[in-house]
Symmetry: C2
Subunit: 235 residues, 2 copies
């Protein structure tokens, strides 16, 4: 079984490495990292991660995972990446995304009519791309599985491992990874965090948020026009 992870400049490393660390432990799974060009890409904050296969070289993958990160905005308009996702979606068993990676899936038109989640700050944006936003850590709808922000990719990995290889395998991996999380604070979601903390994060990211929303609206409008066009020309 081949599981692909999309990499791009300014990806959030943990978005990809969380589910990779889980899924690559399933017996018989081969993990591959796919991107625009072979070689290193620099993730958010400077770590380099290696792309093994280009979008053109990648075979039909059983599972594809699209991570989020600041570079997601460029990805939303990368036609080669979007075409790759649409092509893979025709045959993949599971199309998945972590954090703002779901906005990329959405920009490819792959979440229209599907329930989906994203980072808590961006989950509502999914509606512009035709998805039904659901504020949950993991959302599965048919063969689309999406996860909330960054660290939620580990939970997504274990959820998928259960589906792909059975609960016993998933549990073995969870114990191997000693995934008995003990966050030092109770503030990992807007529901748990002090409203003051939530407010300051919202205020501090207002400009980036505005730009991302504007882009999502524009791409969403194009997707709707395209759908209307293809409906109009249907026999």
């Amino acid at each position: 079984m081949q599981i692909g992870f999309v990499l791009y400049p300014d990806v959030t490393a943990l978005d990809a490495v969380g589910p990779y660390e889980v899924l690559s432990r399933i017996p018989g799974v081969h993990a591959v990292f796919v991107g625009q060009a072979r070689g290193p890409v620099t993730a958010q904050h400077g770590l380099t991660l290696g792309v093994q296969l280009t979008f053109g070289e990648a075979p039909a993958l059983d599972v594809l995972c699209v991570p989020g990160g600041p570079g997601q905005t460029q990805c939303m308009e990368n036609q080669e990446l979007l075409a790759f996702l649409r092509r893979q979606a025709e045959t993949a068993r599971w199309m998945t995304a972590v954090c703002t990676g779901s906005l990329i899936l959405g920009a490819a038109g792959l979440l229209q009519g599907y329930r989906a989640t994203s980072h808590w700050r961006y989950v509502e944006c999914l509606a512009e791309l035709g998805a039904i936003p659901v504020s949950k850590r993991i959302v599965a709808d048919q063969n689309r599985v999406t996860a909330a922000g960054v660290s939620a990719g580990i939970d997504l990995g274990l959820f998928l491992a259960g589906l792909l290889a059975g609960e016993r395998v998933a549990q073995t991996i969870q114990l191997q990874m000693e995934y008995d999380p003990q966050p030092p604070f109770r503030c990992g979601s807007p529901e748990l965090a002090d409203p003051d903390l939530v407010e300051s994060l919202i205020t501090g990211s207002q400009r980036l948020f505005g730009e991302r929303c504007e882009q999502v609206r524009r791409i969403g409008a194009a997707l709707r026009a395209e759908s209307a066009g293809s409906l109009g020309t249907a026999p």
Copy 2:
């Protein structure tokens, strides 16, 4: 502030990327990846991660983090790496390790007399290296901070972020990363897991475990001989 992460062939990617994802978000922090040679190293299961500075090139770092992984056994006998760790320990504010990374710190003689933890399967081995094993997710003793297996590196990152930049910064990062973990199963530690599952993991890793124990005993004996020697020649 410069925070270094040691990379080596067959490192467990999440051991390094978990704390990196947290610590690199602290304002003013620069994360660097240090290894034997510049360029890509292949982590466990195939992902490549980029080394930016060699052991010789790295400046004195404020914090150093040593991840674990199957390649830890080679690291335990890599004199260049061990000398690098000892050199950094003379000036670093915090010397840290995730998972079996603590065995590497121990092999460098840097945990003698310190309380420390490791992956649940290996924590008791620390005694051979002169440390006091403590079965906890995070163990801090003076300026040594160690974490349990793989995923515990995220908790270590947040704990350290609190020490380095204050609780408010750590909490902001936790909310940014949406770290409100919801593991699908209750089996992430030997205490929580079905005894049957623990037993099968122990049985399945018996050979590797035996080899690692044997190596740790041998290195521990050499460390004790060295300590006795230096005591003997003290003025």
